[in-house]
């Protein structure tokens, strides 16, 4: 039996329930991407620095976060942050902090591979012309590492966008929540979950197609 009816849909529904969630999901993705890549790059540099304390700290950070389910990390932060700052923190803000910290672990592994993909001679060349470590990294190594890893960084960001739906665990209002609330309000949960799946698919599929094109483009130039 097929009992699906989209008759209740209107721009008003989209505007009042779904758009709000979409905005938050995109916001969360972008903040966690930028913050995660920044922290991740630092972690990668620490791991490649050859200084034992730095290597150990960075390795501990990355390996710990990568072996815990994201939902548990979300719950941990939602529990711990209010304990530390002494007042409750909204689910949305907590999610933004969690995702930035969590994704940094994954981006750092990508950046580490990226930095390692740059020939060692490039670093020596930098030192040879009198650059400091910071200058060599900033002007020579990191730009090439970013460029080589751009498709992988973007693919990770698509995964990040999908993972934002897990803020469900602490009740933050994201894209999925928007569909759910609309479904409850109109008593049409089935249709709304279907639409949610379609929308996520369209967004993620088109983004991954774009990444694939970019990958081919970069490959030819290199």
């Amino acid at each position: 039996m097929f009992n699906v009816d989209f008759g209740f849909l209107s721009w008003q529904v989209v505007g009042s329930f779904i758009l709000k969630g979409l905005v938050f999901s995109v916001q969360l993705t972008l903040v966690a991407m930028i913050g995660g890549i920044a922290i991740g790059t630092m972690l990668a540099l620490m791991r490649l620095s050859g200084r034992k304390p730095l290597v150990l700290v960075a390795a501990f950070y990355v390996n710990t976060l990568r072996s815990i389910p994201l939902v548990m990390v979300i719950l941990w932060f939602f529990l711990l942050i209010p304990m530390l700052i002494g007042r409750p923190l909204g689910a949305e803000l907590s999610a933004i902090i969690t995702f930035t910290v969590f994704e940094a672990a994954y981006y750092s592994e990508i950046m580490r591979a990226g930095i390692q993909s740059v020939p060692r001679g490039q670093v020596h060349a930098g030192y040879a012309v009198g650059m400091t470590y910071g200058q060599t990294m900033q002007l020579i190594v990191l730009p090439q590492a970013f460029r080589n890893m751009l498709p992988v960084l973007l693919t990770q960001t698509i995964i990040l966008f999908q993972d934002t739906s897990l803020v469900y665990a602490i009740g933050a209002y994201d894209l999925l929540k928007g569909f759910e609330v609309a479904g409850k309000n109109f008593n049409r949960p089935v249709e709304m979950y279907l639409l949610a799946a379609v929308l996520y698919f369209v967004i993620c599929f088109s983004l991954s197609m774009l990444v694939r094109r970019l990958q081919n483009k970069i490959r030819i130039i290199r």
Binding site: N3, S67, P69, L75, M83, S165, S208
Partner: protein, 236 residues
């Protein structure tokens, strides 16, 4: 909330005649069962789809590609809701199916997309001559896969499959959303009931660590057992 540890919380009665410790272990059991079930589904379906994507038939390749893109581009939680809320209202037969089974399929199909990628890459990493050699000595295409390509391809993809098996344990945590009493669900409920969140979360996190570590060891054992002498990473 006091900052002192209170590990006795695990001995408290949950109100249902058992302690939180017993509940914790039963939850661990659910996590492992959901993951194991999901892994079986994922390996079967993922291997099949991965193989289809390397066959000469355009239709089969298309089917494999479509499957992979479909299950890779929808968040796992949304897929879980599709299985739990949407499918039973369209196919009424599914109404009587326990949610455990639905979660196993959701997790399995989601992971099958990743496994299909690995299996395809494994088969494609073999020299083209192997396939041709199989066909040239008169094996049919299925026989070539069974006796020539797959025995090598599966050995090659053991390491990536290991990390997928570890991922599946982590991903099984989404089952909380459809009220499966697994570790994450336990963590949320026990935290609420006892207000000893840190102790509860620590125990749950530790069990996730242990599970992933165990999978890692088992996979390493399998990898050593099946390696082909003379290959890179093979025995000396």
């Amino acid at each position: 909330m006091s900052s002192k540890w209170d590990w006795q919380v695990f001995l408290q009665d949950t109100g249902g005649g058992r302690s939180y410790l017993e509940w914790l272990f039963s939850a661990w059991g659910w996590t492992l069962s959901v993951s194991a079930g999901g892994l079986v589904v994922a390996l079967l379906v993922g291997s099949l789809m991965g193989i289809l994507r390397t066959t000469p038939s355009k239709a089969l390749v298309l089917l494999g590609n479509a499957w992979t893109e479909l299950f890779r581009n929808i968040p796992l939680l949304v897929q879980l809701f599709l299985w739990y809320h949407v499918l039973p209202s369209i196919f009424l037969v599914l109404r009587g199916v326990p949610s455990f089974v639905l979660v196993v399929f959701a997790l399995g199909f989601f992971t099958s997309a990743r496994i299909s990628e690995q299996v395809k890459a494994g088969i494609e990493s073999l020299p083209r001559g192997q396939r041709h050699a199989g066909l040239a000595v008169g094996l049919t295409l299925p026989q070539t896969y069974r006796y020539v390509l797959l025995p090598m391809a599966f050995r090659i993809v053991v390491p990536p499959l290991t990390s997928e098996s570890m991922n599946i344990i982590k991903n099984s945590s989404v089952a909380f959303a459809v009220s499966i009493s697994e570790l994450t669900m336990f963590a949320m409920q026990a935290q609420e009931e006892t207000s000893r969140g840190v102790e509860i979360y620590l125990a749950v996190t530790l069990l996730y660590f242990l599970s992933a570590f165990a999978v890692n060891r088992v996979a390493l054992f399998i990898e050593n057992r099946v390696q082909v002498p003379g290959m890179i990473g093979g025995s000396k």
